[in-house]
Each structure stands twice: as structure tokens, then as C-alpha cells.
């Protein structure tokens, strides 16, 4: 029987610790354990053999840390490891019923955006190790000790793209059931099940007793075989040695308890030995075996959030979508990601649970944009996303780098779409929105829609996508052209719940297209739909009426414990219908409506850093017929100059300077909006970067704002930027000026390197430098074209270079 056939049908046992045993055998601190595959193969074999002899079915190769970051001779190391393990199995007489697991541990690097290892790079690194292991004859891939679900995803994709071997994943949780990156047990399981691994579990971290509550939660949500590989207790240091306190007897006693909780595969981790495994196997193999049971839950996840669809309606924010929005289209064309991210953050603050992401525009590269926006959004919000596109490549690229299990919008009953979208969901996992329309068009009756919905469910079966992961759209269409359309939609929603036990979704506001006072129809329709069982509402959460319907529904339907959500949202509600606290401003702009700022002029508002008023004053100025550029020159810039001078003199402090900059930015945004469609006056393109090794970028950010305010397009490469990246960007867009900042004396060296490389590869680009340790003398020394002591000077230098 193959391992796949046995997993979940009978007790299987993993091995115990390896690293801790090698230390006993003399492995030194700092010495890489995998080198022993070549230098001390007999010792490695003896460890593996003793595990096979103890009765373990799954024994790991000594490749936990084997990756191309650490080894130039990776293939040799991995091949040797597999061969050693195979020989050990043979010598133990276990060729027939034991398996050699290609052991994959974390890379040791954090994935971007948190760290600097790009997701696809991580996939590549894992693939190299797995490929070598597969070619040497490994029987399965065991991905273990993962403390970041995103890295686990990279490893699983690597395994699936390299081979057809079974894949087991175990992760490390802390005592509260969280990964180091914040992911929960339920969210991690949902993501891994979506990726179709063969077994899921937990290893390392602590001893078996502390794993009990974790295994309980795992058993409640996981439909796959469960693996439990604890340490022999918590590590402790004695002098310079690490010791573990839980002996074989105690270990097997607790593991016996865990075995009864619905676990199928057991083994050990750090500090456990062949003796531990022998005791474990003796204690557990005769116990009754429980096969895993399919759980019915629908989860959409991110790095650390896990939204369950079903218990109460889920709000999906609809604003990241260019349809009918000029300003959004402009942002897409100009690659103005901050604008798009702000749309996302506003919705999060307004109460959205999931964000829909639609960045399709005919004239842009949608797949790249989707990948970029998903990445950027996930670096600033933990809300799960719904990837919304008809472009299959855009979905593919977005789903691949997505951190977690996304929602996918959408598939429909057309065979062609099913065949394009469902394989992606089968590969990456996801909760899939199904539109009940097909080759014959949109059915006008709920009967027709239910028929197509059935077809979509059956197609999901065909692709092995659980029906729990399908959400059917009730298709809201405007009542202004067909007055019975809402009735049909509501019927469909109710029947999805009643006839399939399924979940439903609606793009709610479509119902009122062409009518006045749309929010009145929309919000009442939302209430009606929720009353008919709607699971997900795609709405504008910034609209007070919509959120009022949602909150009132939850309060009335016992979905808001003690009505706390409702009370908190409407503590400041006025009976004249203003919503008060329910629509508080976005992070940091809370001052926008503070009392006493209503009459400030544009210059005053910027001087005091009152964002909301600055934008308003600019709007008033434009509405009164003033030229936007005139307002910028006469009010905005002098106000900023005044603040800047105050900062220099020490009468104004950094936060006030930044607030003024924010206010100026908000006013500038109004100008941008007013110039929508008109060609923008751009003086030129400038690159800014804080050099490699330096993370102090406050100064650089001030320069960025100033340059933007003065009409420059700034390519902000961020902080800790390698010389190559700066040079590459300069060449790519043929940029005339590069601004570099460094705070520390130690990183001025990187600045010098960057300048050297620029001179070599892009000699016509000018370099202006700044930063706390910089002086004119220093700048000359490292070969910069100019030194700027502040942001204004940088602007003046750029004006000089660009001749404006």
C-alpha cells in the first residue's frame, strides 16, 4: 500500500529529534548538521536506523536546514541524506512499510513584505531541495517547524510543482495557538487544506502536555489526518548544554491521551529519542484508531486573520474597483498605489471584513497590477482579500503570492470559465464565488439560477473543491428595469441556503441602478437579503445607511453579543439622523473635523496641520474660480516654507512638520482630483532611497513630500535599498536625479558604493545626498553632485537640474 492510501486509515509514526541527538554525538554550535551527511554518514545512518528499528514509519532525511542559501553543494548533501536514510531503512528490515521523508525546514529568512525574501524566490529555494530529494528517491515531503504560514505555502507550492509525492506540513504554535506571524490554528488549517496537502499537524515548541489544547482546536477544524510531533518538554540550559526533561515514559503517557483526541500520525521533535518513539508506539498502536472526519466550515484567511463565512453576514468592501470612478482609474494608470491602499484602509476602518480587489483597466497590465496591489495591501492590512477579475492570469498571479486563503470572484456556469478558474482554486485554494449564469445567459427566474448553481456545485465536485468553498451569487440586478428582479434575487439567496445548505453573496448596490436616493433602496434591500440568509454582502462600508442596516440586523438577530458592536458604533448618534462616531476618520486624519478649524484659510490649515480643513479650503478656492496652481504657489508653498523654516530654527518639531506635510498632501490631492483627465504638469522624475544598511527614512520621506508638492514624480524605493536596485530603477525610467539619504556614518559607505555604480552604469544621472551625518565636505568626498541640507534645498537643486 502506498503512503497516501495508509494516511488516515491506520496509526502511523514519525521519528523523533535529530539535531539534539547529533549534538550529543559532538555536533558543535555553529556547525551545520547537514554537513555530516558527507563527513559522518555512518553516524547519521545510525540515528535513522534506530528510529526505523523503534517502529517509526516515517523517518526524516537529515535535510532540515538544507537550502541553497547555506550550501553550494546542495544536491550532493540532499542526495546523500536520502541514500543514507534508505540504507538505514533497509538495514532495519523496514523496506516494506516505512518511508523516507524529505525533511524541509524554514529557510531562516523572513518573506517579503515583512522580510526581504520574495515569495517566488522562496518557492524556488524550496524547489531545489525538494527536487534533489525526489530524484534521490524520497517517498514524501515533510515540511516542518514552520512558524509563518506564508513560508509554508511557498514550500507546499514548491513540493506540488516538483513532484506528486504526499506532502505533510507541521507548524509551530505558541501556547495561545498562534504562529510567530500571528496566524491562528483555524486559519492555517484552512489555507493548507486549500493547498491540498495530505496531512496537517503541529511540531516542536513545547512538550506534549502543552499541546493538548492546540490538538483539541486542530481536531475541531481539520478534515485531514492530524500529525502531532512534540518536544520532550521545554528546553533548558545546564551550563553550555541544552537539556529536555520529559522521559520516554511520561512522553508516551501524555501522547496516549492525545491519541484519543482524533489524531492519526504521531512522533516527536527536539529532545525526543528512539526510546521515546519506542515507548510511544507501544503505548498507542493498540488503541482504537479514528479516521479523520470532514468538517464543514468556510474560511477566508490572511497572514493573521480568519473570517468564517456562515455564522453571520460578512461585509466585503467594494471600493477597490475602477468601475465608474475617474479618480481610481487615474490612480491605476499612474500606478498611484497609495491612493488604492487608502481606499482599502478606509473600508477597514468603516467595518469591512474582507476587501474586494478589482484593478482591471483595458490599458494597464492587469496581472502585474493585481500581484502588486495584493502584495501592497497585505503589507498594510490583515483583512483577507477577494480577488476580483475576469483575467485568468491576474487571478493566477494574485492567488499565488496571496498570503492565506483568498476569496475568488468569480466563476460561472459556462464550461469555459469553469475550466479556466476551477483548476486555480484546486491548486492554490480559495473560497470561490459562483455566478449562476451560463451559455444561455442570466436566468430570469430563481429556478433557472438554482439550476446553474447546481451545475457549479457539481463542477466543484469534479475538481475536488469542497462545496463549503463555493459561495453562490444571487445576482442583484436593478429593479428600475425589471421590477420583479429583487424578488427573484431574494428567492435565489434563500434557496441556496435551504436547498444546498450553501452560502450566498450579492453585489448589493446593483439593485438600485438608475434610481434616485440609491442608498435607501440599497440599505433596505441589504436587510431583506440578510433576512433571507445572505452570507456575504459586497457593499460600500463607508456608507452610513449600509452599515446601519448591517449593525441593526446583527443586533436584532442575536449576532451581536450584548449589542456591543451596535452600541459602540452609535454612541454619538443624533436623532436628527447624523451618524456621529460610526464614520470616524481614517488613521491620523482624525483631526479633520476638530472644532474651531472650520474657518481656517488654506495657509493656516497647512501651517497647523489640519488635514481635513486644508483639503476643504483648497476645494473652496478652486470652486471660487481660482487656478489650482495659483493656490499652490500663493498659499500652499509659502505655508510649507514657513513650517520648514520653523523646523530649522527648532521652534517647530518633526510631528508638526509632518502634519503640515500631510495637510499639504491632502490639499494637493484635491488639486489632483480637479485636474482629472487633464494632462498633469510634471516637472520631472526623481528617485529617492535610503541606502543599504540604513533604515532611518524619516528625512527621505519629508523630501519625498516636498518634491511631490513641487510637482515632481517621485519613485520612492524605500529604505535599506541595495545599490543595484537604485541603478536598475534609474536606467529603467531614465531618471535624471537620484536622491540618497543615510543617517549613520556606517552607511555612508553604501552611499559611496551606490554613487560608484551609478557613475559606471548610468553616468548622466545626477546624485544629490543628504542625511544627519552628511556635510558638503563628505558629499564631495564620496563623489556626489550635490549636498542638500534639507528638503527645500533638494527641491531647488532639482529645479536647477530640470531647468524649471
Amino acid at each position: 500500500m502506498t503512503l497516501k492510501e495508509r494516511l488516515g486509515k491506520e496509526w502511523l509514526f514519525c521519528d523523533g529529534g535529530t539535531g539534539t541527538i547529533l549534538q550529543e554525538m559532538g555536533l558543535k554550535g555553529g556547525e551545520l548538521p547537514e554537513t555530516w551527511n558527507l563527513s559522518r554518514p555512518d553516524d547519521i545512518k545510525s540515528v535513522a536506523r534506530s528510529y526505523f528499528e523503534a517502529g517509526c514509519n516515517i523517518v526524516n532525511t537529515n535535510t532540515f536546514g538544507a537550502n541553497s542559501f547555506k550550501y553550494n553543494n546542495l544536491a550532493e548533501i540532499v542526495t546523500a541524506a536520502v541514500k543514507i536514510c534508505q540504507e538505514a531503512r533497509h538495514e532495519a528490515g523496514r523496506d516494506d512499510d516505512a518511508y523516507v521523508a524529505i525533511d524541509i525546514g524554514p529557510t531562516g529568512k523572513l518573506l517579503a513584505p515583512m522580510g526581504d525574501l520574495p515569495f517566488n524566490e522562496a518557492v524556488k529555494v524550496f524547489s531545489e531541495t525538494i527536487k534533489a530529494g525526489v530524484e534521490a528517491g524520497g517517498d514524501l515531503v515533510l515540511i516542518e517547524t514552520m512558524s509563518d504560514s506564508y513560508e509554508a505555502k511557498a514550500a507546499v507550492i514548491a513540493a506540488h510543482e516538483t513532484c506528486d509525492l504526499p506532502v505533510i506540513v507541521t507548524t509551530v504554535y505558541d501556547e495561545s495557538g498562534k504562529l510567530l506571524t500571528g496566524g491562528s490554528i483555524e486559519g492555517t488549517v484552512a489555507m493548507l487544506e486549500g493547498l491540498r496537502v495530505d496531512a496537517i499537524g503541529v511540531n516542536c515548541g513545547f512538550g506534549p502536555d502543552k499541546m493538548i489544547p492546540i490538538v483539541e482546536r486542530l481536531a475541531r477544524c481539520c478534515s485531514l489526518p492530524i500529525v502531532v510531533n512534540p518536544n520532550a518538554g521545554l528546553p533548558r540550559t545546564e551550563g553550555n548544554k541544552t537539556v529536555f526533561d520529559v522521559g520516554p515514559e511520561e512522553f508516551s503517557r501524555v501522547m496516549k491521551e492525545i491519541a484519543a483526541m482524533g489524531v492519526q500520525v504521531m512522533g516527536g521533535c527536539c529532545g525526543t529519542t528512539p526510546a521515546h518513539m519506542k515507548a510511544l508506539i507501544e503505548a498507542v498502536s493498540s488503541l482504537p484508531f479514528k479516521e479523520p472526519v470532514r468538517k464543514h466550515g468556510t474560511y477566508v484567511t490572511s497572514s493573521s486573520e480568519c473570517v468564517e463565512i456562515g455564522p453571520k453576514p460578512v461585509i466585503i468592501g467594494e471600493r477597490i474597483n475602477p468601475t465608474g470612478k475617474k479618480r481610481f482609474k487615474q490612480a491605476l494608470r499612474e500606478n498611484d498605489t497609495d491612493y488604492i491602499l487608502t481606499e482599502g484602509l478606509k473600508q477597514e476602518e468603516a467595518g469591512a471584513h474582507i476587501l474586494d480587489v478589482n484593478v482591471g483597466l483595458p490599458e494597464i497590465d492587469e496581472p502585474s497590477m493585481m500581484e502588486n496591489i495584493v502584495y501592497k495591501l497585505q503589507s498594510v492590512t490583515t483583512l483577507p482579500l477577494q480577488l476580483d477579475s475576469t483575467d485568468i492570469e491576474a487571478l493566477d498571479r494574485g492567488m499565488r503570492i496571496y498570503n492565506g486563503k483568498p476569496m475568488i470572484n468569480s466563476v460561472n456556469g459556462k464550461r469555459e470559465t469553469i475550466e479556466a478558474v476551477m483548476p486555480l482554486v484546486a491548486k492554490y485554494g480559495g473560497v470561490l464565488v459562483g455566478l449562476p449564469l451560463d451559455e444561455e445567459g442570466i436566468p430570469e427566474t430563481s429556478d433557472g439560477r438554482i439550476r446553474v448553481a447546481k451545475k457549479i456545485y457539481e463542477a466543484a465536485d469534479e475538481y475536488g473543491i469542497p462545496r463549503d468553498d463555493i459561495v453562490i451569487d444571487g445576482l442583484a440586478m436593478t429593479i428600475s428595469s425589471d421590477s420583479s428582479s429583487a424578488v427573484t434575487t431574494l428567492d435565489t439567496v434563500r434557496r441556496i441556503r435551504d436547498e444546498f445548505g450553501g452560502h450566498s453573496i450579492l453585489g448589493v448596490s446593483n439593485i438600485s441602478f438608475g434610481l434616485p436616493a440609491r442608498e435607501l433602496i440599497n440599505s433596505h434591500f441589504l436587510t431583506m437579503a440578510m433576512q433571507n440568509g445572505l452570507s456575504c454582502a459586497i457593499i460600500n462600508p463607508n456608507n452610513d445607511h449600509m452599515m446601519a442596516s448591517y449593525r441593526a440586523f446583527c443586533a436584532l438577530m442575536d449576532k451581536d453579543p450584548q449589542c456591543l458592536g451596535f452600541i459602540n458604533a452609535y454612541a454619538e448618534y443624533k436623532s436628527d439622523g447624523t451618524f456621529g462616531g460610526a464614520s470616524s476618520g481614517i488613521a491620523g486624519t482624525a483631526s479633520s473635523s476638530s472644532a474651531g478649524t472650520a474657518k481656517l484659510s488654506l495657509a493656516e490649515a497647512i501651517g497647523r496641520g489640519v488635514t481635513g480643513r486644508a483639503a476643504e479650503a483648497m476645494q473652496e478656492g478652486i470652486s471660487a474660480g481660482n487656478e489650482p496652481l495659483e493656490l499652490i504657489n500663493a498659499e500652499l508653498i509659502p505655508a510649507l516654507d514657513k513650517v520648514g523654516k520653523g523646523f530649522e530654527k527648532g521652534t517647530i518639531f518633526l510631528p508638526q512638520l509632518l502634519m503640515s506635510a500631510d495637510a499639504a498632501k491632502a490639499a494637493f490631492e484635491v488639486v489632483k482630483k480637479s485636474m482629472e483627465g487633464k494632462p498633469r504638469q510634471v516637472k520631472g522624475k526623481v528617485i529617492l532611497a535610503t541606502v543599504k544598511g540604513d533604515i532611518h527614512d524619516i528625512g527621505k520621506n519629508i523630501v519625498k513630500v516636498m518634491l511631490e508638492n513641487y510637482g515632481y514624480d517621485v519613485i520612492d524605493l524605500g529604505k535599506d535599498v541595495a545599490p543595484e536596485i537604485i541603478v536598475e530603477a534609474a536606467i529603467k525610467d531614465d531618471v535624471k536625479v537620484v536622491g540618497l539619504s543615510a543617517l549613520m556614518t556606517t552607511t555612508v559607505v553604501s552611499m559611496e558604493e551606490t554613487i560608484k555604480l551609478l557613475r559606471e552604469k548610468k553616468p548622466d544621472t545626477k546624485v544629490v545626498v543628504g542625511g544627519a551625518v552628511m556635510t558638503q565636505e563628505y558629499a564631495d568626498q564620496i563623489g556626489a553632485d550635490a549636498y542638500s541640507k534639507d528638503a527645500m534645498q533638494t527641491v531647488r537643486y532639482c529645479d536647477e537640474v530640470f531647468g524649471v
Binding site: G108, G115, A587
Partner: protein
């Protein structure tokens, strides 16, 4: 998991460059308070520590399998028989908060940045106290904590801390190729333990050779 300590508001202001008795505007005050509240709520701090016997000979300091040449560290650890290495982080959510704030408001981002710096320092002080109390009970007295990159203790020794404490696995902090830590609000340090109680020694800014030029130095 929230931060287990309170973030001192005056420290946040210091990191933001406020000097002396400054009258902040109500807007900045509100922003700083908001940043502190978010940080205290959203931080997921973790730490790992391990004790080692230590010897100091001239400028040479030895513990575990590490030999360090550093005048400043040798002075800090003089007379110590043991030392505790530790690593602490405010966690990834702190960096996300700063990135997130930067999208909408650089002013608020700078508040979060400063509050994050104050948060990890306050968290380290708490660990420091814990270690000091634990060893005082055993008759060993703690010296002020000392970090790689401080004085002439080369930043390259970060690698020893990462290896000896298995920091990445235990706390989720990574050491980049340029020896920076991610998440950024992270600290590594050593605390010397001596059987002799020393009179209150200089620590922090007062002991640092950069104090006269550093923009963030505590003054007055």
C-alpha cells in the same frame, strides 16, 4: 497579544525630536496618544534568553563558544561570572502599523515609529528587571544591558546572538545580510552578572560615546 508594559509618552516625544518643555498642538497630542494605544494593543512581543558562564581578560570577553574583543563590553562585564543573552521583539504587527500609517499620514507614521521604539525599550526594561530580580535572589547582581553595535562591540556579533539563542525560531526575528533585524523593533543584548554589587553605574545615553552628537540623546 498586547504589549505587557506601558509606553512612556515622554519617551515617544523624545524619539520624535521634542526638546525641552514644548507645547504640542492638540492635534499632535491626540496623534501620539492614538499611536501609543494602537501599539499597546497590537504588539505581539516575544523574547528569548539564555545564561552562560563568562570570562573577561583584558579586552577579551568569552562566553559559550564566542570570543569578543571589545573595550566597552569588557568594561561593562568586568568582574562578572555569568551573563544572560537575550533577544526581544515588539513583533511584526508593529512594523505593519508603521507601514499602514505611512500610506495615509507621514505624521501619524512618525508617531507610530517613535511609539514602537519606546515600546521595545519599555519591553526590554521589563525583561531586564525580571532577569535582575531572578539573579539577585541567587546573589548575582546585574550590570546595565549592552547591545551589539553599541560602542566598539561590533554589529557582526549579532550573528553569535542569533545562533546561540536560535532567535529566528524562537521569536520570529530575522537577521538580514546587512545585519539589521526584521521586525525592526527588536533588540539583542547581554546582561552581565557579578557576585559584587557595583555602585550605580552610568548607562544608556550617559554611557555612550556618541551622546554629544546623537539627535536622540537624553538631555537635561
Amino acid at each position: 497579544m498586547p504589549l505587557e508594559v506601558t509606553i512612556p509618552e515622554n519617551e515617544v516625544r523624545r524619539y520624535m525630536g521634542f526638546r525641552g518643555p514644548v507645547e504640542g498642538s492638540p492635534e499632535t497630542d491626540a496623534m501620539i496618544k492614538k499611536a501609543i494605544a494602537s501599539l499597546e494593543k497590537d504588539c505581539s512581543p516575544r523574547y528569548v534568553s539564555k545564561a552562560f558562564p563568562v570570562t573577561v581578560d583584558g579586552y577579551k570577553v568569552e562566553f559559550a563558544d564566542v570570543v569578543i574583543e571589545s573595550r566597552a563590553l569588557a568594561r561593562n562585564l568586568a568582574g562578572c561570572t555569568e551573563c544572560v543573552l537575550f533577544a526581544a521583539t515588539a513583533g511584526p504587527s508593529c512594523d505593519m502599523l508603521v507601514k499602514r500609517a505611512a500610506v495615509t499620514s507621514s505624521a501619524y507614521a512618525s508617531c507610530c515609529q517613535a511609539a514602537g521604539a519606546a515600546a521595545i525599550e519599555a519591553y526590554c526594561d521589563m525583561i531586564n528587571d525580571k532577569i535582575r530580580n531572578e539573579y539577585e535572589a541567587k546573589g548575582l547582581f546585574a550590570r546595565p544591558r549592552f547591545s551589539p553595535g553599541y560602542g566598539d562591540l561590533a554589529l557582526a556579533h549579532q550573528k553569535d546572538w542569533f545562533r546561540l539563542l536560535d532567535i529566528t525560531k524562537n521569536t520570529g526575528v530575522e537577521l538580514t545580510d546587512s545585519l539589521l533585524m526584521v521586525p525592526t523593533k527588536s533588540v539583542t543584548a547581554v546582561i552581565g552578572l557579578s557576585p559584587n554589587r557595583l555602585p550605580c553605574v552610568k548607562q544608556g545615553c550617559e554611557a555612550c560615546t556618541m551622546a554629544s552628537t546623537c539627535a536622540f540623546s537624553r538631555k537635561g
